[in-house]
Symmetry: D2
Subunit: 135 residues, 4 copies
């Protein structure tokens, strides 16, 4: 089983917070991942738009898949996220993580979140520390 | 009902994602808020530590309370978050948002997340755009 | 004189810090700008690589040109910058700012900095507040 | 010569960009540093306020001193900076870096920049990767 398979298996079977948020894995390659999340009532904040925590969770799951798909454990050091468009129940968000840079010790990813109309909902940049341990 | 009361009432009654994540409001003043979240199995990620999305959700709720407690609607523009310590089921996280700066149009907040031993779990900096509308 | 011309004229004639750093304007359109900076001894830090402040200055100048080229004054609210590759004296850095999002009040830009070999030196994300005043 | 002395000696004698920007070292301890910069005409941008690159350079120098004062080389991975107040020629800026967190491999610092009236001009958060090499 290669790194992609191990990362997908681990996250799909064991990531309880992503599961609770309804994040679904669409595509994973080393350094790349795409997930979706259908926005339901449970994802909304007090002003009836998708909660920043829900958007972050989708983005973070794509980020984790892309960075762990190299086959070794990658731990998030930080993430900077911008919120651009409000969405609500009924929207489908797609989060894609693309690798900007990879070294032995770190990986940097740009994560974009779009809604079902193609509009940009959020852009984020996340940095991981790469351990030697296999995922 | 003043801004603090309106912000607390609105978020405690209507923020469905924060409720699903188990975030509880402890203290709110204009420009300041503190919340807690007991880490349970549902908050964990694939490597059995608290999911970044769960930590973000707690931090974001403190941020929203502190910035909306001035009585007008504050919308998150961006947040930069650093992850410092892994925690797991059984931990209790406390997120506190403190105002660094406030203008007519923007507000900047530092959010710290500590665990029950007092250790720093996460630090974040969040910027809001302030609308004229009452919360 | 349109917004692009006004922004270019203003920055090329009056931005003293960018001039001291040797930043040269290559191309400007509304929402886009490219600049270069030849790395000399004066740009180096204590370990003989290009100073983060020099890289930031080049990135920030592209960011200012792209955001002000719409014709109204845009002020930086924040910037998040990642440093990926060390460069030294003799390198030529190119910083390009691309617009991710534009609203009446804010603009978000991704700024990439590459060296003369095409390698990525830095990636940044910057947010401006847009005033009504003409540049 | 201990880590503080080595870091101060190295940066004060060899950081050419910080010198060009007029950054002066005031105080350094392991994990802490304070510098000042008198704003002159050369630090201004096209709208006659202190250039973001100049503010960043002061903040970055405090950040480098604080993180290298442990005695081993610390390289900046990223920095997120917020701009809060415009200043101009005649102001004196003070940048102080305080350690939020330190591990064998990384260090996180909060850097605040204040003007001579005590007002907050900028807040930043910077992350370093710590090498084993002595500074």
């Amino acid at each position: 089983m290669d790194g992609v398979e191990r990362a997908v298996r681990r996250i799909s079977s064991n990531d309880r917070f992503a599961r609770m948020a309804g994040v679904e894995i669409i595509e994973v390659r080393p350094g790349y991942a795409k997930v979706t999340m259908k926005v339901e009532d449970k994802h909304l904040n007090s002003v009836d738009i998708t909660h920043g925590g829900a958007i972050f969770t989708a983005a973070d799951t794509a980020f984790a898949l892309a960075s762990n798909a190299h086959g070794t454990v990658a731990l998030a050091l930080n993430m900077s996220i911008n919120f651009l468009k409000a969405t609500g129940a009924g929207s489908t968000l797609t989060a894609a993580a693309v690798e900007d840079n990879l070294t032995n010790r770190t990986g940097l990813y740009r994560i974009t979140v779009n809604d079902e109309t193609g509009d940009l909902v959020s852009v984020a940049e996340g940095l991981v520390y790469r351990k030697k341990d296999k995922i």
